[in-house]
């Protein structure tokens, strides 16, 4: 059976040879994923149930204490601190994604409406920030938000901050930094959808008495949904775990789950708890994506 000749995409071969060839092609990628993703992942789950030694070493003794701690239970009773950090991370990721999407739509339409030649100039401008390290880009905000520059002066004039203080560390600074980091991740996939937009559908919606909102919901959103989905996932997932931006621009008061994890593996030397928090973040991310999947479909039906 395996040695029967078959025709596969114009090539005369046997099933056995096809199978061997297929496995050879797949083995590289599969072993990469096994060694660098699946095994460390399983190890991580194991670590999250292990115990921290007095000097930060790992003791392979089963405990659920790490998860209890994450849920807020400790020797001194229940506190919502860690849950709040988790919730705040979801909130920051959500708002960052939302603002990026709101900004990305007009930007994508603007670029798509340029003549073919200058489109690449605009796209390059979107990509240019990637040429610089994220830490350096975030530090640049220190300067932009410093008291001498218009942004802080404006905030002072509006009575938001006292005179001669920088516009950081605070939530606004975190959002400014986050959106500037993640905007390109939404614009690029969204642009690829907008570029292929069938304008006849937009015109049909207009011709059929639609308000601007209805034109967007019925003619533009369904067509750009593929690009938008990619953008939302590319933003929301990393934004949940980001720590550089909130660490630098948010100050110590604005701790997010990314900072918490970094702390456990860094200064606190508490790997088991760090692993538990990481897994908590992963579960939360998956739940969020699941909600997005369901809600996304509902919106499209609207």
């Amino acid at each position: 059976m395996k040695n029967k000749n078959i025709l596969w995409r114009g090539e005369l071969t046997t099933e056995g040879s096809l199978l061997r060839k297929g496995l050879a092609f797949l083995s590289g990628g599969i072993s990469w994923l096994m060694i660098f993703l699946v095994l460390p992942g399983l190890l991580f789950i194991g670590v999250s149930f292990a115990t921290r030694g007095d000097h930060g070493e790992l003791i392979w003794k089963f405990t659920v204490e790490n998860y209890q701690r994450l849920a807020g239970y400790s020797l001194f009773g229940w506190t919502p601190d860690y849950l709040l950090i988790l919730w705040r991370s979801v909130e920051v990721a959500f708002v960052t994604t939302l603002v990026s999407v709101i900004l990305a739509y007009p930007l994508s339409f603007f670029i798509a409406s340029r003549p073919a030649k200058s489109r690449y100039v605009w796209l390059t401008l979107i990509i240019v920030p990637f040429w610089t390290n994220m830490v350096i880009r975030t530090y640049a905000w220190f300067y932009l938000l410093s008291p001498e520059l218009p942004l802080a002066k404006l905030a002072t004039a509006l009575g938001m901050i006292p005179p001669d203080t920088p516009l950081y560390p605070n939530a606004i600074a975190v959002y400014l930094g986050m959106v500037s980091v993640f905007l390109p991740f939404v614009v690029l996939p969204l642009y690829s959808s907008v570029e292929r937009l069938d304008w006849a559908l937009v015109e049909a919606a207009q011709d059929l008495y639609s308000s601007k909102i209805r034109v967007f919901m019925q003619a533009i959103l369904p067509q750009t949904a593929p690009g938008l989905s990619v953008g939302i996932i590319l933003t929301f997932v990393p934004a949940m775990g980001t720590f550089v931006v909130p660490d630098l621009l948010g100050g110590s008061k604005y701790m997010l789950v990314g900072n918490l994890i970094q702390q456990q593996f860094g200064s606190s030397r508490d790997w088991p708890f760090g692993a538990a928090v990481s897994l908590g973040l992963m579960v939360l991310t998956m739940i969020s994506l699941q909600i997005y999947n369901r809600k996304g479909k509902e919106i499209e039906v609207l």
């Binding site: 069938d198 559908l201 049909a204 011709d207 059929l208 639609s210 209805r214």
Partner: protein, 346 residues
Amino acid sequence: MDTHKDKNLTIKNMVKTFGKVEVLKTVNQEVRAGEFFTLLGPSGCGKTTLLRIIAGLEIPTSGSVILGNDDITSLPANKRHVNMVFQSYALFPHLTIYENIAFGLRSRKINADEIKRRVNEGIEMLRLETLKDRMPDQLSGGQKQRVSLARALVNEPDILLLDEPMSALDAKLRAQVQEELRRLQRKLGTTFIMVTHDQDEALVCSDRIAVMNEGQIVQCGTPEEVYDYPCNKFVAEFLGAANMLKAKRVDGGVETELGFFALDKIPDWNEGLVTIRPEWVKISENKPDHNGVLATVEDSVYRGTNFDLFLSPGNLRVRTSSYKHFRTGDKIWIELTASDLVALGD
């Protein structure tokens, strides 16, 4: 309810430029309420632009669109009681056929019972009963077109615009749809304005045809008028009159290489062109009583229902329903009737 049936459409001094290109050069035209009006012309003649201006999808550079007594030039598309059948049909891919047809009514927030009644009416009118729960990508071209028609017509528009509605259909279906469109228009009494580059389509469907070229309406009239009396070479050629004879004006008619012809209407030029349609040239094997010319068959093309013969002198194309097969080199007599000759203007 039927007030929309007496709204004439007037296009006044319409000019549209895209950058430096003048797409429409001062178009003036009236479309009467309830007529099937066709804009016929080659691609790039501005016919689609004119249609889009009427729909409100394009803003004219100058000039106005008047519907009934209202100037609607600056009214946005979603406020105009004018609906369009798009060339690509533009059905919403995420909505069922039923929802596609209901789209305009839902936009206008018409009450649910009325929407149901009108959509079902539209579904029945265009025989879409079995398709109403399907998605657009499950439909054939002809079915999509009927959905697109229903989607526009359930809004009971003052004017229905059709942008090359049959360009995506195969030839057989096209003939069928032409007749159906015409029947539908007669039944509803709605003004239809269609854009096409296909003369057959225009002749079959229309009450009146406006032939366009280079941003202007060259001639407007009933299909018979435009077909029988083309005003110039462009219209004559576009409507398939392939025979152009150089002529000199003489007393009481014109002199051509095929002889003298007395014309009812003496042209206002001294030298120009006269045309005769291929199917109007009579042929016979015996010398006719008058105006007979002996010609040689240069080529003959079989077209199923007829032969097209190419004759010299005069480089004439003659369409004959005769079953007699002529061969290259055959000598035949042709007879041109003076009343079938049309002198063309510039």
